[in-house]
Amino acid sequence: MPATPSTQQILEALLFASDAPVGLSTLVEVLDGPDEAAVLSELQAMARALDEGGRGVALAEIAGGWQLLSRKEAAPWIDRMLRSRRKVRLSRAGLETLAIVAYKQPVTKVEIDGIRGVDSSGSLHTLLERGLVVIKGRSKGVGRPLVYATSSDFLSYMGINDLADLPELKELGAVLEERERLEMEPAEGDEPVPAEAVPGGSGEGAP
């Protein structure tokens, strides 16, 4: 390695030294030379090179920054090495609560409980404790209840860059629209709705 490392080398070293996403602006600032566009194209080149070079790590754009991550194909071996040193996965209750917060944020606990039909204190506690959900402030509504939102750790936890990267629940919109249409129609007794009028029961791949 030459005395003065190349941008590519510095970038790799920087990303390598970090266990969390590093923002593009931080990289630009630290490199103190190439502009944003240049750094971005270096990053893209690095991502490609890592993909093509048959390497054990990959460069991902996540939670608004760049981070090196091990390749998923190596997961079984890493699991074996780290054994139990990992955080447990979220419970079903936790995931339900998280989904409501993610899609309806900012949201109050009363709203969450209402949708789940069950008290969500325990799951909310876990989500707050793990930093995936934060108290965002207060709603303007009556009694000014606290509102909850997802954190940037949530993005990183889900491996996405942005809330807009959450899968769009087209089907949900469809369900509601369908409901509204049904409500418009005169209620013809209890006539069953044709099956295809209502999206199927399970959430299989929406287009």
């Binding site: 969390a20 990959a58 996965r89 899968p167 209890d190 029961g201 959430g203």
Partner: protein, 274 residues
């Protein structure tokens, strides 16, 4: 009303009962199991199955949360309303008694499905490992504090309060004041009244020890340039003036003299203190 297959009335008496997140989860399970259209629930049948499941949960010694019972009551109320004859006037459109429940089920199902999607993403992300040994700086004179969530703050308060220490015996020993506390108090005071008499400032401090600390604080502030000290004549009163965080070399205020007096003034006070 819809065809309720009376033949198929046995609940699957599996020993293993899936864990239900709540009454809505259980209802969805029953509906899905019978392949019933969610918008047209055969309420009598579902109610029966629901109650049977609750019984089973009791038998299996599972805790049945209150919400399950509330839902049972709701189901029975809907059932009885369904039995009422339809309104006589055709104009008067009565809402289907199941309407509210259906809406709730659909809404819940939306998020249940979303949660499966999140679960998939979580699983996918967990296949990728973060760097295990990130680089770290050694010197701990850190510049910034990591943000703390409101939850952590409140959690800390809760922990502290639940520890509830024994009421301390109130011995009134003078609390020794720290230098930065003295500076803090002086600053607060000077921000309100940017020009004050030296003696007046020291009066803020009670004990002799505190006064000495305050004096050292003033020296510190002089050094950092947040205050200026001036004496109008040789044995006259000494004034302290607040200069904020401006750099010390900025002699704009003609009325306060700079230079040697800064050294002199503390001496005067010092003498007085002795």
């Amino acid at each position: 009303m819809t065809d309720e297959k009376v033949s198929d009335e046995h609940l699957p008496m599996r020993v293993q009962l899936p864990a239900f997140e709540g009454p809505l989860d259980l209802l969805l399970h029953l509906i899905q199991q019978d392949e019933i259209e969610i918008t047209d629930i055969p309420i009598a049948k579902i109610t029966r199955q629901y109650l049977e499941t609750l019984d089973l949960m009791h038998e299996l010694d599972l805790e049945v949360a209150g919400e399950f019972l509330v839902m049972a009551a709701t189901l029975m109320r809907i059932k009885s309303r369904m039995l009422l004859p339809p309104p006589i006037t055709a104009e008067e459109e009565e809402e289907d008694p199941r309407e509210g429940l259906v809406r709730q089920l659909l809404e819940y199902r939306r998020f249940k499905e979303a949660s499966r999607e999140l679960e998939r993403m979580e699983g996918e992300r967990r296949l990728h490992f973060d760097r295990g040994a990130p680089a770290q700086l050694e010197d701990p004179d850190a510049s910034e504090l990591l943000p703390v969530s409101l939850f952590r703050l409140l959690d800390a308060l809760k922990n502290v309060l639940s520890r509830q220490a024994p009421v301390p015996v109130h011995t009134i020993t003078a609390e020794p004041i720290r230098l930065e506390e003295a500076i803090g108090l002086l600053e607060t005071h000077l921000k309100e009244r940017p020009r004050a008499l030296f003696e007046e400032m020291l009066d803020l401090f009670v004990s002799r020890l505190e006064k000495i600390t305050a004096f050292l604080g003033l020296l510190e502030m002089l050094k950092s340039g947040t205050i200026q000290v001036a004496q109008e004549d040789l044995f006259g009163p000494i004034w302290v003036e607040w200069r904020g965080d401006a750099p010390p070399e900025n002699p704009e205020n003609g009325e306060l003299s700079e230079g040697g007096e800064e050294d002199q003034a503390p001496q005067a006070i010092h003498a007085e203190e002795e």
